[in-house]
Structures are given as structure tokens and as C-alpha cells.
Symmetry: D2
Subunit: 387 residues, 4 copies
């Protein structure tokens, strides 16, 4: 197995994008619990996201969600982010919260509503330009709840048409990243349910169209690392939405539900050349329904880092030899050896050598930031999925 010193430099190239919405309130259909200090506007979200980067060195960018993060002056928001040591990243569109979109957006039967959805994406592209970011990420809530409700086939054609219109509008340095999801909020069918559908559409669009893999968007039993390997092989893995789940799209902290799965995913990322490659954006997409949000994000980026270190430590050459020899248990042992290696102590040292706190969770707690924002952010409307 590789030594930690062999991978220390490589770890510096890791960058994990934070979702602005993880700092706002979230919940389930049963209840959204509020929490003190929740940001009330995108500027306050930037401040919170910047804290995650300050304590970990891992999160140099924050993704936006439009309209949730709409501001009058995106240039000002960019500069504000820069002043706090981070940059703005991926722009996520949202076509699931207007009454118009109740039965679909890009796939709606009504051309007026389809146009509205296209226009919304044009706005997102403009924002991309203003903040100087690269990726437009599209997750569509489009789908149906009842068999017969919609024309599954025709909706695919409408989707292709809408995506093509949006893709054409992209700048030469922009990308369109299309996310897929098995179900929710639609319960019978979704219009982009699986990676195959996303792949078929991005192939039709062009080179700068990619697939976003959200780790919580698959059917039970799906081998996600296989999809990672396949999309890297096909040159179409655009980004990750990391989180973890036990049942559905639970949006828990990445690595919390099945750490070994996260390891296997990251091994395929490394194996397939996706680590620290500009092609692949590592993003979080999580909800901190009951736990504090900034520590939740710190824990998340640390989990990704710890597991990345384990994946980088994997002795790929010994693995190859065992695989070629048909040594099932031997190959598995090489693989597990990396997973079971406790990298936490060396990562603490690594951080200290780079001027970061050895224990970011403890350091953040000691910083008093949570108490400060709880005291400061009184009044106003706490940010959330509906705001």
C-alpha cells in the first residue's frame, strides 16, 4: 500500500463545492424544523460556506440555486465571496416550485410553460456569465404520479427539444450537466430517471453536455461505482452530488450511511482519472434537517477527504496483480486494506502543516461563529427550499 506521504500532495488538489441551500432550512413533507442563525440571504450563505473552507481548506466554491439565490447584483455577490476566500460555482436551475410547473416544466404539454422553463434556464446562463462560473446544472422534477397521466414517450421528445434550446444558448466555456433521479417528487415516472436517459440526452446535445450523478438517486441495490466507472469511460461524468441514504433520497451527510460504498465510488473515480480532473465537479447536495448545518457541511467535506485518502492509498498495482491471477480473496484483501486504514491522524497532521486546524469540527465549535450568527440573525425570513 502507498504511504500517506505519497498522497499528501495529491490531497491538496481536492476541491468540494458546497450547495448554498445546505445552509438554509430543510425538512421533510412532515415538518421543516428551523434553527437559530439560519442565513436569510445569499450573502449570509456565502459567509457560512466560507467558514467551511476556512476550517478545512476543502471547499473553495459554493453552488447557487436559482431563484433561491437570486440577487440584484451577482457581481457584488461574487466579490463578496472572493472577499471571504471562496468563489461562486455551479448554477442550479429550479422549475419545481411555481404553480405553472405542477404537471411539468420542459416536458409540459403547454408550450407556454415549456417556454417559461426555457427562459428560466436562459436566466441561469446569464447568471453563470456574471459570476464567471462554468456549469449549468439541471435537475428536473418533471414526471407523473399516475399511469396514463402523461405521454412518457412524447415528454422525452419535448425534453430533448428544450435541452437543445438551452444548450445552444450556453457560452463556449459553459457546460450543461443533466442530473437523473429515480423518483420524488413524482411517484410514477420521472422524465430523467436513470443515467442511461441522462446519457442518451447529453450525447444528443454535444461535447459540453455531461451527466450529474447524485449518489442518492438510484433504485435499491444499484451498483453506483459501476456507473461512475462507466460514465468516466464514456467521458460524460460531469459532476457528483454527494450525500448518503438508507432508503430513498434521504440527503444525509455523505459517508454516513455506507462509508464503504463511498470508498468504492472514490476508488473508481481515482481509477478512472476523475480525481482532481477539471472535468468532474465534486459537489455536496445534502439536507441538514436536524443537525446544525455548518458543522454538518464540515463533517461532510472531511468524510469525502478521509475516504479520498483511503482510495489514493489503495495499492493499484498489487490489486492488478491479484486480479489478473484470479485471486479473489487476495484482490479483495488489497482493496479492504486501504479501506480499513485509519487515516485520521495523518490527516490531522496534514492539516496542521498547511495552517489548518487539526480538528476542524472542534475548532469551528470553539470559534463561537454559531453563537454569533444565532445572535445576529434575528428577524427576517430564514432561507429554505420555499424561499
Amino acid at each position: 500500500m502507498a504511504q500517506f506521504t505519497d498522497i499528501a500532495a495529491s490531497l491538496e488538489r481536492q476541491a468540494i463545492e458546497l450547495p448554498s441551500w445546505a445552509f438554509g432550512n430543510s425538512g421533510t413533507r412532515f415538518k421543516v424544523f428551523g434553527s437559530p442563525g439560519t442565513p436569510r440571504d445569499p450573502f449570509e450563505k456565502v459567509r457560512d460556506a466560507a467558514k467551511v473552507h476556512e476550517f478545512t481548506g476543502l471547499a473553495p466554491t459554493m453552488a447557487l440555486h436559482i431563484p433561491w439565490d437570486r440577487v440584484d447584483d451577482f457581481g457584488a455577490l461574487s466579490r463578496f465571496a472572493a472577499d471571504h476566500g471562496i468563489a461562486l460555482g455551479t448554477v442550479n436551475s429550479n422549475t419545481f416550485q411555481e404553480a405553472d410547473y405542477k404537471l411539468g416544466s420542459l416536458t409540459h404539454t403547454d408550450p407556454r410553460i415549456r417556454q417559461r422553463a426555457v427562459d428560466h434556464h436562459f436566466e441561469c446562463i446569464e447568471i453563470l456569465e456574471r459570476i464567471g462560473a462554468r456549469d449549468l446544472k439541471i435537475w428536473l422534477a418533471d414526471g407523473t404520479n399516475y399511469p396514463g397521466q402523461g405521454d412518457i414517450r412524447r415528454r422525452q421528445d419535448l425534453l430533448a427539444e428544450g435541452l437543445a434550446t438551452i444548450y445552444e444558448r450556453l457560452g463556449p466555456d459553459n457546460r450543461l450537466v443533466l442530473e437523473y433521479k429515480l423518483f420524488e417528487p413524482a411517484f410514477y415516472h420521472t422524465d430523467v430517471p436513470d443515467w442511461g436517459t441522462s446519457y442518451a440526452h447529453v450525447m444528443a446535445l454535444g461535447e459540453r453536455a455531461k451527466v450529474c450523478l447524485d449518489t442518492g438517486h438510484h433504485a435499491p441495490g444499484t451498483n453506483i461505482e459501476f456507473i461512475v466507472a462507466q460514465l468516466l469511460r464514456l467521458g460524460r461524468l460531469g459532476s457528483f452530488d454527494f450525500n448518503s441514504r438508507f432508503y430513498a433520497d434521504d440527503d444525509l451527510i455523505v459517508g454516513a450511511a455506507d462509508p464503504f460504498q463511498l470508498f468504492r465510488i472514490l476508488v473508481e473515480v481515482v481509477r478512472g482519472g476523475g480525481y482532481a480532473h477539471p472535468e468532474v465537479t465534486f459537489m455536496l447536495d445534502q439536507c441538514h434537517n436536524i443537525e446544525p448545518k455548518i458543522p454538518g457541511q464540515i463533517r461532510s467535506v472531511l468524510n469525502v477527504q478521509e475516504m479520498t485518502a483511503r482510495a489514493l492509498l489503495l495499492d493499484f498495482e498489487a490489486l492488478r496483480v491479484a486480479q489478473e491471477a484470479g485471486d479473489v480473496l487476495g484482490a479483495n484483501a488489497v482493496f479492504m486494506d486501504a479501506f480499513y486504514t485509519d487515516v485520521r491522524g495523518e490527516l490531522a497532521d496534514w492539516r496542521q502543516e498547511r495552517g489548518l486546524p487539526a480538528d476542524p469540527m472542534a475548532a469551528f465549535a470553539a470559534s463561537g461563529y454559531l453563537e454569533t450568527i444565532a445572535a445576529e440573525r434575528i428577524g427576517g425570513q430564514a432561507a429554505g427550499w420555499d424561499a
Copy 2:
């Protein structure tokens, strides 16, 4: 196979309880879409529920959810219901929407919060007495999102303690019906995840404690009709929460996702003596997120009735003979014959003979009621899960 005339009288004994909350707004964590005419108080819900009964003859009672349906004078609400031709039924408690309950209610580590949850159930029992209904139904959202967050084992003991306290307070004609659910809103563990847990608790409580089976609360691949048969055999099936699902707890219209499963469930109900038996309450528990709510409820009770008719038509004697002969295909053919029989025409006649509209969906649409309430119910706060 039995003839329709053989079962016509039996069909008259069917009674399906409607959930008051099905008439209010509902949705997913992504969005709750409003709809015109949504009731703003329990009285308006009664009016809507009564319409379902008026057009189908199938829904003589409406269940309450507290605090959503709290009124100053439950006697008045009961009389209002009676004036509209229905009665109030099961009282459902709710310990998932107060900030106190964020980490649990009856299973919370804090005795003050556990007491609060117990007190809430005492209030529900008082309401039961005032409206003269029988069942207190308890579904707990209690659970945890992260491994280690809670002490799974101790929470069972706290749960047993809380349920015992509530059970003691019940009147001699009341029952406690304990619902189970695999997941949501908790994502790592729930405190009553399966029928076995519910069964173990109600066994410890006493004879008047029963299990509620919600058809959407199981893991993928669960054979639900087996659980129905088992609970009837054990004398512990208290009620159904009918709905249908493709993935998780989708709360779609009963019979919409897998009509054959509904048939199999109803066959076991009939086989096990649960049909038209006072022991077993047939209740709906659904969300009409995108479809109109009153027609959604009418469609639902009709679905249950149609499938009940098919189950009653099953030639149990021919089935028994084929089963005993080990005739796999023959037994299956007898079974499928009942399922594939189109009972809709005869049910239309059956309704007309009883002074009901042949086509309740069309008759309701023609009645203009939806238009009336849309016009009348302007202003105020539409009922929903959060109100």
C-alpha cells in the same frame, strides 16, 4: 365463481373511513401546490367528506387528525357531521410538528417532552369521548437520521412505557391502534418500523390494542397480504390505511399502482373474516398532491369497492380443491379469474338500485360542487399538513 347477485348484499356492509386531511393541501418536501376550494376548517372538511358518501354510499365516517382538526366544540362538529349524513371516526394523534418533537416524542430522552406527548394523547382520548368514536390511532414519526444518534434499545422501553400510560387512560370501549412505518421522516431508524414491532407492543398492552397496517409503509418486495393474513390470525388487525405506492410512502390513490396487490390483500381480508367485521376499520390515508381531492377520494372508495367485489366473487371452494390437489396452475387460474372479472357494469346497476348515481365520478363532476366551493372558499387559510 360466485355470481354478482350472491355478493350484492354483502357489498352493502362495506364502510370506508375517509381521512379529513385528504381534503386539505398536501405535497412533497419540494412543493405543496394549492388548489381552489380547499377547506379551511374541519367543518368544511366534513362537508367535502359527506359529498364522497353522498355519491358513493361507501364512506359513512371521517377520521380526525389532532391538532389539525381541533375545534372548540367537538359536539358541534359531530352534530354537523350527522346533519350531513356522516359520523366522525378514528382520532389520529400528531407528535411530529412541534419543535419539541424534533428528536422524538414518546421516545425522547427528555421526560418533559415525553410527558407532553402523553398529554397530547390524553387530549385525543378526550376528543374520542366527545365525538363518541372508538379508535385512537397512533403513528409516531419518532426515529433517528444517523447511526449512534439515539439509543435504539432504550427508545423501545420508553415507547412501551408511554404507550402503557396512554392505554390505561382509554375508555372501556376504546382501542389503541398502533401504526408502523419503515422510514420517513426519519431516515436511519424508526421506532415502530414493522408489523412485528407493532405486534410486540400491542401484545404487551392488552386486548384492546391493535395494529394499523398502512399499505405504503413497507420495504420493497414485502408481501403485504401475508401480513394481513397473519394479523387477522393473531387477532390483532385493527385497521387499514389504504393508499398505493410505486417507491416509498407515495400516498397515491389506493389501487392505482398495483391493483392486483389490492385484490390479494382483500382476498386475505375476506378469507380471514376481516371484511365487514367491526374489528377491522377500512380507512384511506392518501395525499392528492396534483389531482382534485374530492374526486380523488371518490375514485379511491370506488377502487376499494370494485376490488372487494372481485375478492368476494372468488370461488373459495374451487380454490381450496385446486390447492389441496397441488394444482398450481389450476389454483392460480381460479384466483385470477376473479381478478379479471369486470364488475364495473354490475356495480353501476347495484348503485342505481340503491338510489346512488351509476357513475359517481361523472355525477359529482356534474353536481357543480367543486365550482361552488372554489367560489365560496376565498380567503382564510387553506387546510394542510402544517395548519
Copy 3:
């Protein structure tokens, strides 16, 4: 809704291919139960398959599985089939029963074994030519049981290489049809786990490469009719392997587990132009572990026919109108109306008008054929998956 008379002629175009192996013994890893009259060679399988066609008019071809159906003279087997009123169809390869293939076939690390697997497919192509059939169907058991055991990524490249070599060898009228499967016999990863992988490979091969969709090869909760619609849209649906399942790849009689799902699949087939289109082969792939095999096949083709009739009866125009109006319940009602229509009586008439028995199951039972083969087929080695 359409009338039965409108669809009667269309039903004549239905042709369902039978798998030769459904007539042999099959079972689970726990036990293969034998049954009297099991065929001992491909000629006896042809006789049994021909019976299914004789009593239903629905099954004019029988697919082969090599090496299970290897004979000295395929011309003789073809003529024997023709003499019995059917033809030989799809040739299925088998690279999962030789010791060499324990760790893979086309994806094996050892080039010698990969070549052996390629050669096996060349043999299958020769057989295709000799019997004058079109499709080479490839289902690979390739995969791994333990994380790290194999190089998931490299195996994709080896697979692509092997498939390309096989594809080149195909005659101009032949097709390569690539099946996918989530799991089993491999338990950690399979090399063609989903339609997306199959699609990516057939796209790389060329126009005559298609996807085979086995209805039992998906993760729980997968919307199969969506995949049907998508593959038809992409022009890559080559064939169905019909069967049904409750849990895994149960290979039960098609329509037995979820008849409504079968209906939805067939609606998309009709909607997408796949019905009676030469592009799409309707094949069964089932195991009759405990029920008699020939009646099991008769029941299966009848189930497909009955559900096809319901799908053809669907009022697509009324459906379209309701869908465009956003009438969720109305569209669903149009859809369900077709599903709930009992077509069995009219299909019995339809059969009689065409010189077929009204009740093929009863007629076959009365024919005494099962008793005849049970008496005749004494001694020898009953056909099965291992023979």
C-alpha cells in the same frame, strides 16, 4: 374505447417466441425438481413447443440455447420444426457453465478464455446461418462477487472488444441483441447491469446491434415501461424476455406477479410502434420450477395476448385529450378502463373463428399429450440447465 372487432385483425399479427429451455427442468440453487415427460433432446423440445403453437396460434418460433440445444444436424432440426408447424428462432449463447468461465468470459483477464468465449459466439452465428434465423442474443453472466475482485473499468473495455469481434462476424441479415441484468449469478457487480450499459455498447457496435429487455432484470422500483418507451424512441429495442417477478429474477409466468405492469409495458410497445414490428421480438424467458411446463407456456402466451388486447383497446385519442388538458384523474381513468376490460370471452370467440380451441388450457389438458410424453419419455437424461 376501441371495440374488440377493431383490434381482431391486429391480434393476428402477434407472435411470441418460446424458449426451448422452458420445456426442460429448472429450479433454484436449492433444488431442481424433475417432472415426468421432460424432453431429453432438442427434437422433443420442438415437439412440446409446437404444441403450444397448435393450441394457441401464438407461438410460431422456438429459441435455442447453445450448448444446451446443440445437435449434429441443425438442418434436420429446422426441418423437424417445420414439419411440426413452427420455426427455430433466436440463438442464445451460454458462457456461464464451463469451469473456464468461473471468473468471466468476454471480460476475463485471460485472453485465452476471452477467445474461447468469442469462438463460442462464432459457433452460434454458424448455427444462426444453418437455421436461417436472425438474432444472436447475448446474456453474459460475467461479473464479480467481491469488491476489488475485478477491474470494473477494464472489463468494460474487454467487453467492447469482444462484442466488436463478434459483431463483425455477423451476416448482413443478422443482429446482435445484448441483454442486461442487475445481478445473479454475480453478486457484487455485473458487466452489463442496466439498459444504459447495453445501450452504450450497442451504439458503439452499429445499426444491427440492439438491446434485449428482460422484464425480471431490474432493481426494485424500476419503471420498466419507461425503458421500453425510451429504447423504442432510440431505435434500439431488439427483443423482450418476458417473465414476471416479485423479488429478484424469479422467472415466473409473465403477468403472474403484476398484470398491470405488463399492461403498462404493452401500452408503451403499442404507443411506440413496437407491436407487430419486425424490429422487436417478443420472447418468453421463464422457468417452470413447480408447475407443468407446457401448460405453463400456454398460460404465458395467453397472458401476453390478453394484455396486448387490452393495450390495443386503449383509447389513445381520448387519452391524449385528457393528457393535454392536464386532467390527471381523467387520463388515468381512460387508461384503467382498458386495463379493467375483460377480454377473455371475446378472445375465446376470436380463437374459435380461427380454428383454435376456445380454451387452450382445457383443450391441451384434454388432449392427453402430457400423459403420452410421460409414458414415452422414460430413460435418458431429462433436459435442464446443466445438460
Copy 4:
């Protein structure tokens, strides 16, 4: 967190029972691959099992499966085991491989076949007495493949009757342990599908009836550690069948698929007093379809030991404090800290201090035992599920 020295003594109390059948050939319905050196009789299985204990100190007993392990003189087999340093343990019955049992055993409609199944269990009880072991373990393959095939409800009554007859015959020091399984080999329903059913039956039988939890026998998404905690609380956890799975009952090496789940299970075992308690038998139930069998078993017991060490290291007091404080992230961190601790080095030392090889896998490979048995065990019938 506890120190390793604190738990070293506790680790000595660990005993894991090996399944005799893990040393024989196994496979899937597609193929059983043979391997050199496979034992041909129970004596050779004992020799192999004893090797696992010799190199690990963890596996002092071997479970039998009847009729697979039937011998003329069980006393001789017991002495042979003792001579090799191990003892014979749990006796597993088998009512799934005789033609009579095709449609059921204890639940069959035919009283003659039910009696045969009961008699088989009487034989197992006699064997228990002869070998001086405690537990009769019953896993029933009983179930049906098609809806309507069997009377689900009546089969429960027959099952209860059969179990009662068997239970009565048990000696005063014997126990009946009833296993449950979601599906396979039956595909529509199984007669003991879940822990609730097993629990209801053992409650009806008496104090010495317990539940066996096989970690691979649940629906996707089932929280297994919850069931562990519940059964320990109810005093009815009799034994584990450890293995791991990605999809169905894959019977892979325990800990191979989801090590974190194994950790969570063992934490509940420790928390609930089940560790090193005579009440709870730790058993493996695995198939080594493609990997060598003895190393597969060594790897398995080591996996259980490593994860047990992590569970024992958990700082339960710190966990309790965090749980009571409602500190979600803090409690989770305490929990994960134990999981991520690399105990392998200290376990190697622990072994050496006790005269065991530091690296049992390497030591066994170096011992030449595999080569010896491959050379010796030529001819005869290799043991397998069908022999």
C-alpha cells in the same frame, strides 16, 4: 474510547460456529463450480473446520446439516471432532430437497408429507442428543410461487401445529431456533418471511424457542440492527446466521458487502447483552462459490472478530451523554470513531500472545493444507448442497 487492552480479555470469549456446508461445493442455479480438495464426507468437513479454528482460535464448533451430514455413527463423528480440537454444534434440518417437499413440508396440504417432515425433525433431535449439542435450527423453504397456489392462512396453522409437535419432542436442554427468510426458493410467499412471524411462532411454543436472524434474509432497506436490538429486548434472539449481501440472499463473506452494517449489528449485540452470552449463537451461513472455502471461512471469522473489537471499543458512556444532550453530530462522531479505528495491528499482537499466527490467512496459505487435501481427495463425490 476504550483502549484495546480493556477489551482483550473480552475478545477471548468470542466463539463463532462454522457451517459444515460452507466447505462443500455451492453455487447458483446457473452453475456449481467445483474446487480441488472439496471434502467428500462429514469427517473431511470436520478436518477443514478444525483448520479454521487452529489458525484463528475463533471457531470451536461446526454446525451440521441433515441429511447432508448424516453418518452411521454420530458418536464417532463427535469424537473425531474432539480429536481435532472442535465440537459439533447446531443441527440444521432440511426439508427442501425431496420430491415430496416440492409444494411444502410442515405446511403441505397432505398430512403424510407433513408427518414426514416432522419425523425428519425427530431424527435431527436424536442426532442432537447423540452429539450432545443444544440447538435444532429450522429454516423452511416452504412457500408458494403463484398467488392463489396455497392457502397462506391455513399454512400458518399447519406450521404452528408442526412446530408444536417438534418442540414437545425436544430434550429439556435443547432449543428450537426458527429462521425467517423473505424469499427464495419460493417467489411469491414464504411461510416464515420475517422476524415478526418467527417471533409469533416461538412465543406460542415456549421459553426454549428462539429466533434465528440470517443477515441476508431481509427486504432491501431493512434496518437489521433494529431487529437485533428488539429480539434481544424480547429475549428471543437465539442465533445469527452471518453472511453479507448486495441484492438478495447472496451468502457472501460476512462484512464483505457493508462492513458498517456489521459494525452496527455488533454494537447492538454488545449493547443488548448478546455478546458472549450463551443465549446467542454466532454462526456463519455462507457460500464460497468462487473463492477457496477454508480461506473464505478464515476471512469470515476474522471479519467478525475485527468488527466485534471495534464494537467493544465504542465509548458507550460518551455516546449516552451525547445522545441525552440531543447532540446528533456528536453522538454520531463517537459512534464512527469506533468504526474507523484500525484494530488489525493490535489483533495480530493479541493472536500472537495467545499462540496463534499473527496473520491467519498467510499462515494457512503457508501451511500447505490446501495442496494436501487437493492431492488426497481424489475420487469420490464432492460434498455439496445436493449430496
